[in-house]
Amino acid sequence: MPDKLKIMVIDDEEIVGKRLKPALEKRGDIIESFVNSKEALARLVEEHFDIVITDIRMDEIDGLEVLDYIKSHSKDTKVIMITGYATVEVAREALAKGAFDFIAKPFKPEDLRIIINKAVKELNAEQMT
């Protein structure tokens, strides 16, 4: 596993990506943020990402569809759901469909970092076996 992670952030509110990007880049990971989930999916076809962080409620293609796509194309990508408007029930649905974890808005980058670290641990463990 390379030291640098490739992380994608998808949220239809521009501010989310803008704020998360510098906070997550601190550790040296490569962050790409998308406002439009369609564009994000196109990018996912091109390249493999280690972690995708996506909002659940979005226009056009919502977070659950993004999750479905990722799970059917690159199984080892970890998906973390952001629930802004959505309730825990939807988050649970995402978990049932293979998402790694969820976090509720408003949150601090540090809280997200904890979840990412957990995901990285699991990624490492999976590579070992």
């Binding site: 629930t83 802004g84 408007y85 825990v88 049932a96 469909k97 808005k105 949150f107």
Partner: protein, 500 residues
Amino acid sequence: MQIICISRFSYGYGKELAEKLADKLGYQSLAREELVDKATEHGIPVGKLETAIVKRQLFTEELGIETDRFKAFMTASLCEQALKGGIVYHGRGGHLVLPGLIHVLRIRAIANLEDRIKMVMQRMNIARKQAKQYIEQVDEDRRKYSRFFYNVDCDDPSHYDIVINAAHLAVDNSASALMHLAQLPEFQLTPALNQKIHDLLLESKCRLAIYQDERTRGVKVTVSAEKENVSITYIPRHGKKAEAIPSVIERIDGVKSLICTVATTNILYIQEQFNPELPSFQHLVEIAAKWNASVGLIRLVQDDIEKETNEVISPEFNTAKDVGGILDDEPAVERKEESGYGMPETINKLIQAGRAGACQTIHGGMKSLANKIKQEQNYSLVVVGDVFTSYNNLIRKRLKRDMISTLSDQASAPVISTDEIEEQYLFRPKQWIMTVVYALLSSLMLFLVFTNQHEILEFLSQSEDWNRVLAIIAVTIFAPLAAYLIGEFSHNIMKFLKLE
């Protein structure tokens, strides 16, 4: 109007049932999800609250306030809709945010686990194992949620009027059965309950306004409203910010008067007739001052009197909105009678003492009172005054005793009768004597122990088996005894210094 609350599982058939039932009755159906969406739009972080609960994150004071804000939002939305017409709410906790509305028809809809799993597999397009896990997880979340939010076990059937099982019963037939149930007199709106809905709406609006407004954000308040009279209590810690409360409430329509009190805790005073001149009331005010507490009043109306009062209210209720010149007098008179029973005078006295809390009238006797006390756990003392006045002396005493013990089971605070106040909580000559007695006994004990040091220590460190056992017994008896004597003495002294 009529309110029906269906508590349902996710992917049960509750939603379908609610919609069918609403259709049959011509009511509006209202899903929890819709309310949550609206609440989130209002800036209440519902997702955050839920996540904090299911992930067992630390619940800060801020989140506690958001919880109350969300509850207020639910109450306000449901009451608002209910005043427009009948509603069928489906989701969790509906009836729990509508305290005191005894006509709410509370339904629990359950379904076969197997059916639910199938439905989830189909709708979410996932494997059986995941679907089962999902259902178990969501049910668990829901249990945690209702325990945390309402301190209620949502699976306990005693919280519902009826549990309906979809395993065998078709949705349409369930809806028909429930429609008939809804026709029963128990679930009809009475004028008193209509007033209660208005009160609840106003009260929740005030809570929302206070939590929402920049000036008063972060102040935890207890609000109660009765007939456009609002009373608000807050804790001294929030004193500075709370000063803006009157100007926030000012903007809400329908508030006629506001009583704002700082209090660290609340005392509840239950009476049928209030009289500020009673010595027991004076004692109560004295304790309240000592504890820095507010005194909330509840006027209890017994079952058999209830009908009568309802009839009294009804003309006022019907004419309150657009009165012609002639009708004006009558409701005014009735209003005075209704809110009478010494309550205004008593409240005035309490305001003068800076101790006024909420005042409410509770109909339906014991049952509603017990419910009310169970719902609001923020009292530190419940005082029962003269109740059951329509009975003769002996029966009255017995009924009152029963009532105190019933309430004690429900309340987290001690429940006492007015005659006990003086003895238990105030410092009186009798207590002086007891203090002196405790002081003497404690000193005597100290004296005896220290004059017989050697004997005692020898006794305690003997090595024969039997004496060992005796030493143990002596220590286990003596230690609590000493603690009791000295403890009572110091407790009395602290009581005297009003440092409890």
